[in-house]
Symmetry: C2
Subunit: 204 residues, 2 copies
């Protein structure tokens, strides 16, 4: 079934909007729209308004650039967090992923992207100046570079190291190694090589 | 990654709304919402408004119950359609599927569902009275029952036949047979049996 003709302009508009989302084809979009049509009007209005408000009312933390409903996000305003450690991440998904581990008690700095010459993204497009301003006065004991293990991530790590190493902060990156649950024979050789070189004492 | 905690209430609301859609889990919903966040505000507002308007402004054709932006849908108001043939379908998706074949030139009647005792849907929940009102005065030469080939479809076909056969209309159903492109050895025996019994003269 290819939906070339819709019986209603309103229906067609809604299907077009949904199918503009990543991974949503026209058939799926139509199915979603038909589901909305069967709901109460109040419920559908709430759906639409939550989308409009999301984009128009959302704030970004003025300290770490994380998404927030307030000027300063709940992490930056939490007095129990260690203000001397900054974890540098690409985006807010990464903040949420690290928060979900419940292993990290420092602050974050969201770059809003990663250096990628092929996509035309250079250092000036990222929140690097504000990161340097935070590190410059001193008082930051550790900067964790928690970027993806891709070429772009490595490039960004190198750039950040060059700019930040002159201040007296300890710069670290996430441990590379065999993922929990992975079988050795299917682990790529670069990861396995790093895992052997960075081996740890056995802990019972 | 299980998103138990969101840094923003607005973000969480939008993810909750998207994940209420069929086939959209929380991870997908989050990905869609992050896509919307990266767009221009005007574009996102248009998305939200198209959803709200869809539900609040949509009309149903007063003749056939098809979705329409006007009182009478474009099919019912088209003077080239044959008003003496009514094709009875379950929902508007079925209207669109048949329209896409470009083989049918009569009118439709959308029941708005199908008799299904297990889901508590009886004849009174469907647009059957208005169908009878259309057939009763005469002038309808054929009623095509184009319902699903399920037990519920067969039940509804039987009920409609009982109610409508006393008026002088020819009542037909869609042809059952082997689907175009299907291999015989994988065709179920009931379909294959009907295909043999209803065989047609060979056409070159």
């Amino acid at each position: 079934m290819s939906f070339t003709e819709f019986p209603s302009r309103l229906l067609e508009d809604a299907v077009n909007e949904f199918s503009s989302l990543p991974g949503i084809g026209r058939k799926t979009a139509f199915r979603l729209v038909m589901n909305l049509l069967r709901r109460d009007q109040g419920e559908v209005t709430r759906f639409g308004e939550s989308i409009i408000r999301l984009r128009s009312e959302i704030n970004y933390c003025k300290n770490c650039n994380n998404i927030s409903d307030t000027d300063t996000c709940s992490i930056c305003s939490d007095p129990r967090r260690d203000r001397s450690i900054i974890c540098v991440v690409e985006n807010i998904q990464d903040v949420m992923a690290i928060e979900n581990t419940r292993q990290y008690k420092g602050l974050y700095h969201v770059l809003g992207g990663i250096i990628s010459p092929i996509d035309g993204i250079g250092p000036a497009d990222l929140k690097i100046d504000s990161l340097e301003e935070k590190v410059k006065p001193g008082g930051i004991s550790e900067i964790i570079l928690a970027l993806s293990t891709t070429m772009e991530g490595d490039t960004t790590n190198f750039y950040l190291y060059k700019r930040l190493s002159k201040y007296n902060s300890f710069i670290t990156t996430l441990a590379r190694g065999v993922a929990v649950g992975d079988e050795l024979e299917y682990t790529d050789e670069i990861t396995l090589g790093k895992a052997i070189n960075n081996r740890n004492p056995y802990q019972q």
